[in-house]
């Protein structure tokens, strides 16, 4: 980098001459993409379990060591130096963006994708060579930028450090930890002690604890009134926004029909054509409704959503339409369980959605139930997850949370001298904030000490080959 402010704007810098800029960055992106795709086509995708313990910690250590050592020993090297600067950051970010954009448009599953998409690894992006290379480039740039700013460590770089090191730790931890992540499900039946679990591929494994389901609980929201086309059973689209919750006394207008709920029972049984409240296995909700049309004619009748034991019942209001009761939706569901550990502990607890329970390094989640039976389900599926790298990722995440607060304080005060804006320059409209730099010599522009930490500090414009 030149310290001479007087250098006239240079002609395009030849490629691969230090300092590298954006052109080199784009070429590197292209090279990584081509190599990655070639490997993908010849060697196939990556094995997601290849980097399990301890290979992952070794790889992560070596990668980080290489970046730290590279900066400490070879910062004069064009590649090392370049990786620590913005052109590498922006081009690597662009490469990741490109790959993730493809992922954003492609169903990430083999089924439903043409063969060439599968072969190029686009339908399994995170397990593909181009993605691996992109991430390595991205992390090298991120790591090198971090090294550049923390050698020597200065107090006012703390915000920069939190963001960049935090992101590095979170992403590297997440990538390397993926192979050690275990997700299995345990199918529980009321009153049965279960020691085993199966993973997504259906492999069985023994768990270091056992779980017994005492009771599956579910609470439901009240069902809704819907207007349907009798023949198809489909909800009339125009009436969707007019559906309303059923409860005694509720009343609403559905595209002209006035619907009034006269009675509602959350659990009921059918007796002589009408419904009465009962507490019984499989008893469905029911309601007595009165429907009045625009001419003032009304009919009354019972409707029910039915259950696995009883059929549903509609109220026909003309030869085309009926009033129906929707199937109630779950508001809460959870499992009362007893967990037995090998050390003889016995834990009585409740596992609910959003409230997992920790046992011996595993977290247990309420996963599903037998939806044919709904609230009468006597089975419950618990997902057990072990993620030993979680503390690493969380360290990164909490650093990033702190760093984002720093980011919010970066704004600058409004400009005072809006009258003295510089003229439009040759190719760009001037942005007034650049004014600040015009009186500053290149020398102190380079020196970190003379700049307040928060002011935008551009590198000298040596990369004219840039975008």
């Amino acid at each position: 980098m030149s310290l001479n402010n007087e250098i006239p704007k240079m002609k395009k810098k030849p490629v691969w001459v230090a300092p590298w800029g954006y052109t080199e960055g784009w070429l590197i992106c292209a090279g990584l993409l081509i190599t990655g795709l070639a490997l993908q086509l010849t060697a196939g995708g990556l094995d997601s379990k290849a980097l399990s313990w301890p290979a992952n910690i070794i790889t992560g250590g070596m990668f980080t060591g290489l970046i730290a050592g590279g900066w400490l020993l070879f910062r004069g090297n064009p590649l090392v130096n370049w990786l620590a600067r913005v052109p590498a950051a922006v081009t690597s970010i662009a490469l990741i963006t490109f790959l993730v954009l493809i992922m954003g448009f492609t169903l990430q599953e083999n089924e439903g994708n043409p063969l060439w998409v599968q072969q190029l690894g686009l339908s399994n992006m995170t397990g593909s060579w181009p993605f691996l290379f992109g991430m390595m480039f991205f992390l090298s740039s991120l790591g090198m930028a971090t090294m550049k700013r923390i050698t020597p460590m200065k107090g006012r770089n703390i915000g920069f450090f939190l963001n960049h090191a935090g992101l590095y730790i979170a992403i590297l931890g997440g990538l390397l930890g993926a192979a050690d992540l275990k997700r299995v499900t345990m199918d529980l039946y009321e009153g049965e002690v279960v020691w085993g679990a199966t993973d997504r591929q259906g492999h069985y494994m023994d768990m270091p604890f056992a779980v017994e389901l005492e009771r599956f609980n579910m609470e439901e929201y009240n069902p809704k009134i819907a207007l349907i086309v009798t023949e198809t059973g489909r909800i009339v689209p125009e009436a969707i926004s007019e559906m309303f919750e059923i409860d005694t006394g509720h009343r609403g207008n559905m595209i002209g029909w006035d619907v009034e709920v006269l009675k509602f029972y959350a659990m009921s049984g059918r007796i002589d054509g009408r419904f009465e409240p009962v507490v019984d296995y499989g008893a469905p909700p029911s309601a007595l409704v009165r429907v009045t049309d625009t001419s003032g004619q009304s009919i009354e009748g019972w409707i029910t959503s039915g259950s696995f034991m009883y059929p549903h019942q509609l109220l026909n209001i003309d030869h085309e339409h009926s009033v129906a009761m929707t199937i109630p939706r779950a508001s809460h569901y959870s499992s009362d369980v007893v967990i037995y550990t090998p050390s003889g502990d016995l834990i009585e607890t409740n596992i609910e959605v959003n409230h997992p329970v920790s046992v011996n390094g595993w977290k247990l989640y309420q996963y599903s139930y037998d939806d044919r039976f709904g609230k009468w389900s006597s089975t419950s599926v618990i997902e057990a997850i072990r993620d030993p790298w979680l503390p690493v990722v969380y360290t990164g995440i909490f650093m990033l949370i702190a760093g984002s607060i720093y980011l919010m304080t970066l704004g600058k005060a409004p400009e005072k001298d809006s009258e003295n804006r510089p003229e439009r320059d040759e190719e760009e409209m001037s942005s007034p904030e650049n004014k600040k730099y015009e009186g500053i010599t290149a020398e102190n522009r380079m020196s970190e000490e003379s700049m307040p930490g928060r002011v935008t500090k551009p590198e000298p414009e040596t990369e004219l080959a840039g975008v």
Binding site: I240, P414, P422, T456
Partner: protein, 266 residues
């Protein structure tokens, strides 16, 4: 079945904003009209705040479940941000644009009225729900402000009017917006761990949230490095906002989202 009429509140807010903007445009030096302009514009926000608060109370859950409900919050935040930007930088036009966008979003809610119901699926019943959504929508509104600055700059550039254009308000809004966006993303990750067992699964909604985030990340780094190249920067902001809109509304329509766990937003 709503004890209050959402349409009434929506129309009231729209009328108050429109009136405020008109007054701002024609007040000139007249003190009274200026005060009326501020009053009307802020009253529009006030109406929406009251409505949202009532809605929350009536539904017994945070009104943040459906796309229409998120638009409500957006329409509440955006004029506030436009107003604050106006007060701070004296850019009256940003107030107008943010007001117009807020009106547009409320108008969408008028055309597609929401079916407000109390149901909240168990996965959404979490202490993370409210901070996650609020922080996200606030970020979206800030970034919309930045986009307005950029698009107006592009307009000035390509219509050949020889004027200078400052990206400083855009930069400041992006710093703030990206800060909030990062928080939203991370709150989502922490919540995902509690609700679905993992903090990041490259679900389509997450994929597009990541794209939005990294787009603005590219912007701030590029700005930091090449502060003079503002045309490229303005295009980046415009592009990033398109990605943001896809992440917010578009994902549901993409084939890649066939198996999304985030289908509750419909």
């Amino acid at each position: 079945m709503m004890p209050i009429d959402p349409t009434l509140f929506t129309i009231a807010a729209i009328v108050l904003w429109a009136l405020g903007m008109l007054l701002f445009a024609f007040a000139g030096e007249k003190k009274v009209l200026k005060w009326a302009a501020h009053g009307s514009f802020l009253a529009g926000v006030g109406v929406l705040v009251v409505f949202t608060w009532l809605l929350w109370d009536i539904l017994g859950r945070p009104p943040m479940r459906t796309l229409g409900e998120t638009r409500l919050w957006y329409a509440m935040f955006l004029p506030v941000i436009g107003y604050a930007t106006y007060i701070r930088w004296d850019y009256k036009w940003i107030l107008h644009y943010s007001g117009a966008m807020a009106i547009l979003f409320l108008a969408i809610n008028l055309i597609y009225p929401d079916n407000y119901d109390r149901d909240l699926m168990p996965a959404l019943q979490s202490i993370w729900f409210v901070p996650h959504v609020i922080v996200y929508i606030f970020a979206y509104a800030l970034l919309a402000g930045a986009t307005i600055v950029a698009v107006k700059g592009l307009f000035i550039k390509y219509t050949g009017r020889n004027r200078t254009w400052s990206m400083q308000p855009a930069d400041n809004l992006v710093y703030l917006g990206l800060g909030f966006l990062t928080l939203g993303l991370l709150f989502g990750a922490l919540w995902g761990k509690e609700a679905w067992g993992h903090y990041w699964m490259w679900d389509p909604k997450e994929t597009w949230a990541f794209l939005t985030w990294i787009g603005y990340l590219a912007y701030i780094h590029y700005r930091y490095h090449k502060p003079k190249r503002i045309t490229a920067a303005m295009w980046m902001l415009a592009g990033a906002f398109i990605i943001l809109l896809i992440a917010w509304f578009g994902v549901n329509y993409l084939p890649s989202a066939a198996n999304s766990v985030h289908t509750y937003s419909q």
